[in-house]
């Protein structure tokens, strides 16, 4: 039809445009970065193949998405789509993404994947997105400097010989008295925010900067800066990063108890074994001493005995404890480590510590040092408070009767005296510990506080 001829160029143009755009879409969809890495890897495998069979295998290597599906961790990790050689020691020292991942025996890839430790975006198959360095992804890859933080997702910070920074962070957390103002694991003060999920919310850079100058990042923050070395701040940051509040399913929770002597020692004291058995001459006399039990009995006998004592010694009065197999391995390992050691070296028996020592433990437990100083010397600034605008040292306790000291602890001082009567309320105040502290703890704490005051002749 002649009348339509004027539209023919339009028809051709639009047809070409749609065709071209469909091709462009196909190109974008088909040619992906990861395919290049897989071809590199396959070529590498082929060049390494020595025998004809190996060559055959290398030629048959597919180019396909690889993923580790982890329902228990609610993850799908596709990192191995590019990082193809993580399990092949032959690739040790190779450049990424084809490098070998050393020492993963305890955390097999098929059970743990990658992102539970390294973070990043497991589902992604493009480099920047997978490494989590894109907008709208909250968990970029954790710098190796902080990698030990991930251990804390499953393990107690003090369990692990191979994460010294994490243990250091935990120790600093206690020492600094953070728990005095912040809750962690449901325990702690109310002055600062809870820390249970802080690792999921904050970046390492933010946390490190915040430790050094809190008020710079949080306007009006009354948290005192942590005056520590950079290494200590890194350790604290790392410990915080480990507090992600992730809930792992049963398989991973059971894996968090490493069946080593440390766990055995904890179980030994928790289950009250010392009530019947002696170690190093201390303890109950109902059962036999345990110092040299691993010399007297075969390992197999000990394991069977823990499973069911009556199965190997029918006359026994020892009850069946229903230990799990990892727990049994841990207890056996612990017994093997004894051989005559002094019990007080590895077990704290509360009744044997002095009231002052116990009081010191209470002081640390409630994080009193966060405001009052690691040894009660005070010094944390509290704007507009009397007494030098600082939180008072506890060495002044000598003028106060026990009953008042106790009431300060149990009821707190919600409205501390001000330097300027019309001035603002000081930002930090003494919280009430009455519903948290037990009577025994309180008495011990008072003993400790008394021990801090100078002897009468030193009185200024």
């Amino acid at each position: 039809m002649d009348a339509l001829k004027r539209f023919y160029p339009w028809f051709a143009l639009l047809g070409l445009a749609v065709g071209g755009l469909v091709l462009a879409g196909y190109y974008k969809d088909e040619f992906r970065e990861w395919k290049r890495w897989q071809r590199d890897y396959n070529a590498q495998e082929l060049s390494r193949a020595a025998t004809p069979e190996q060559k055959e295998q290398a030629r048959a290597l597919p180019v396909e998405i690889r993923q580790i599906v982890l329902p228990g961790l609610q993850r799908v990790d596709r990192c191995t789509t590019c990082h193809l050689a993580v399990e092949d020691p032959g690739y040790a020292g190779y450049r990424q993404p084809l490098a070998y991942h050393p020492s993963h025996a305890q955390h097999p890839f098929d059970k743990f994947g990658c992102t539970i430790c390294h973070q990043g975006q497991g589902r992604a198959t493009e480099r920047e997105a997978a490494h989590g360095r894109v907008a709208h992804w909250e968990h970029p890859m954790l710098a190796m400097k902080y990698i030990e933080a991930s251990c804390a997702k499953c393990h107690a910070a003090t369990d692990l010989p191979r994460s010294p920074l994490l243990a250091r962070g935990r120790a600093l957390f206690d020492e600094q008295g953070c728990i005095g103002c912040h809750k962690l694991g449901g325990f702690g003060g109310n002055l600062g925010p809870e820390l249970d999920r802080v690792g999921a919310k904050r970046s390492p850079e933010w946390l490190a900067k915040h430790f050094k100058s809190p008020a710079e990042l949080v306007t009006g923050s009354s948290m005192p800066p942590v005056k520590r070395s950079d290494a200590d701040v890194t350790a604290l940051t790392l410990f915080m990063l480990g507090q992600t509040g992730e809930r792992l399913t049963e398989y991973y929770v059971s894996m968090k108890t490493i069946p080593g002597p440390e766990l055995g020692q904890r179980l030994f004291s928790q289950k009250g074994c010392i009530g019947c058995h002696t170690v190093g001459g201390k303890g109950g006399k109902v059962g036999p001493p345990l110092d040299d039990v691993t010399k007297r009995r075969a390992p197999d006998w000990i394991v069977k005995h823990f499973r069911d004592p009556a199965s190997v010694s029918p006359e026994t009065v020892m009850p069946k404890y229903n230990f799990t197999e990892p727990e049994i391995r841990a207890l056996a390992a612990f017994l093997g480590s004894l051989t005559g050691a002094d019990i007080s070296a590895f077990m704290k028996i509360p009744s044997q510590a002095s009231p002052i020592e116990r009081g010191r433990a209470v002081y640390l437990k409630f994080g009193c040092g966060g405001c009052h100083g690691a040894n009660g010397e005070g010094g944390v600034p509290n704007r507009n408070a009397r007494a030098n605008q600082q939180i008072p040292a506890l060495t002044a306790a000598n003028d106060v009767a026990d009953v008042f000291l106790e009431s300060f602890v149990t009821e707190g001082i919600p409205d501390p005296a001000k330097l300027d009567p019309n001035g603002p309320k000081p930002p930090i105040y003494m919280p009430a510990f009455g519903d948290k502290i037990s009577e025994g703890e309180l008495a011990d704490l008072i003993s400790y506080l008394r021990s801090l005051q100078p002897a009468p002749n030193e009185k200024p």
């Binding site: 009348a3 445009a17 755009l21 879409g25 799908v76 709208h136």
Partner: protein
């Protein structure tokens, strides 16, 4: 070497070809009419179309573009359904899988997203076109009402789809949007509860929005579109100046009809018998209309593909009820409404939109002026055109303010001064 036409003619002549196409490639006007009437897809069209209706400037093709976008949405939507589980645990991961591992997954999602936004825009522009050319005047009053219904359904379709990716953008846009519904007196909170299946956006809200989005609303729109198109035909085709048409003696098509007062599939209006007469100035729909429709489809497809290849549909962080963005914004087509709500929840969120909707529905029955049909901005309709334009301009201004000029706590920001959260 045979030309495609020759191949076609050969195939249409075989037994199989004849069983499929009742008429071969038309060679005469009669054949062209028969082609239109005897084909299932083509018989939705009239056999003959008025020259005025064929002109691009009469309609700008907006209704047809809206229909094409709806078809594209149905096709890409079904494709996406194969990869989508409507639950908070899976929905967001499904989006990530579409992007990273599903073949053409991202393109499909992009096409769905951009088509949806374009459809909202085109349906609105189509409504404006019909108003400005007086297309709602008798006998087409009711079809205008059906069209207003389709406009509202388009908005709700887009809105329900907005939640499905289950990211921050989705979660908070739906939270804000359903809160606006909650401002209605007496029934507002009930409607909000009914929509969400609870008091906040959660698992049951996602399921409800999903079912509405993929079953209830598309089915309703298909029915309403069928009704809309059927009424276009029954109301005498597209509105045009000079209705009813001048009748002229039937051309060769007349052989089909000798004793009826209508031409082939076309009402010949008028009071006197119109035996042997046809409306003047009409052309066979094959190929004049069909060719233009194919051209328009190619243009629509080109725009959608262009957007989809170069811009990805947004996906923000996983939905987090504890972390509202500031400001939390509704989808862009509701931002004018949200801006009004910022002034007064009751007046802006309930009274003004309700009045506007009632006014739109009642418009063809209130407007007594009969002149100016088929003409853009007719002189006789100065008052109506001015009033409508004022409403459109107000809606556009409010939407632009809500989109680009509102920052934290709905405070005023200049778009170039600060980073404004623009919902996509």
């Amino acid at each position: 070497m045979k030309s495609p036409k020759q191949v076609w003619l050969w195939f249409a002549g075989t037994r199989v070809g004849r069983s499929i196409f009742r008429v071969g490639l038309p060679e005469s006007n009669l054949g062209r009419m028969q082609a239109m009437v005897s084909s299932f897809l083509l018989h939705l069209h009239p056999a003959k179309v008025h020259r005025h209706s064929l002109q691009f400037s009469s309609t700008l093709g907006l209704g047809l573009i809206s229909l094409y976008l709806f078809l594209l949405l149905c096709i890409t939507g079904v494709a996406l359904m194969f990869f989508y589980v409507p639950s908070p645990e899976h929905a967001y991961d499904n989006m990530k899988d579409l992007e990273f591992v599903v073949s053409a997954g991202m393109i499909a999602r992009n096409m769905h997203r951009w088509s949806a936004h374009l459809m909202v825009l085109c349906v609105f522009l189509h409504m404006c076109r019909v108003f400005y050319t007086g297309g709602y005047k008798p006998p087409r009053e009711f079809n205008w009402v059906v069209g207003v219904g389709l406009f509202v359904m388009t908005l709700v379709l887009s809105f329900t789809g907005y939640l499905l990716p289950w990211d921050q953008l989705a979660f908070w846009a739906i939270t804000v949007g359903t809160n606006i519904a909650g401002y209605a007196p007496v029934i507002g909170k009930k409607i909000q509860f009914l929509l969400l299946g609870g008091n906040i956006v959660g698992e049951s809200a996602l399921l409800r929005f999903y079912v509405l989005h993929v079953v209830v609303l598309p089915a309703a729109v298909v029915f309403m579109v069928a009704l809309h198109l059927w009424r276009v035909r029954k109301d005498g085709g597209l509105s045009r100046p000079g209705e009813p048409d001048v009748l002229v003696p039937q051309s060769e098509t007349g052989r089909l009809s000798t004793n009826k007062t209508y031409g082939l599939m076309e009402l010949a209006r008028g009071t006197s018998p119109a035996v042997g007469l046809d409306p003047a100035d009409e052309l066979p729909a094959w190929p004049h209309l069909v060719f233009r429709e194919v051209l328009l489809f190619l243009a629509t497809m080109a725009v959608v593909m262009f957007l989809s290849v170069f811009w990805n549909a947004p996906l923000e962080e996983f939905a987090n009820p504890a972390h509202p963005p500031n400001p939390a914004k509704a989808p862009w087509y509701f931002l004018g409404l949200q801006e009004l709500v910022a002034y007064s929840a009751f007046w802006g969120g309930v009274v003004v939109p309700a009045l506007l909707l009632v006014a739109l529905v009642a418009l063809p029955y209130l407007d007594r002026e009969r002149a100016g049909v088929g003409v853009w901005f007719a002189r006789e309709r100065r008052v109506a055109v001015t009033l409508f334009t004022l409403c459109v301009v107000a809606a556009v201004i409010l939407t632009v303010i809500g989109t680009y000029f509102r920052g934290p706590n709905w405070g005023w920001v200049w778009p170039w001064a600060a980073s404004v959260v623009v919902p996509h």
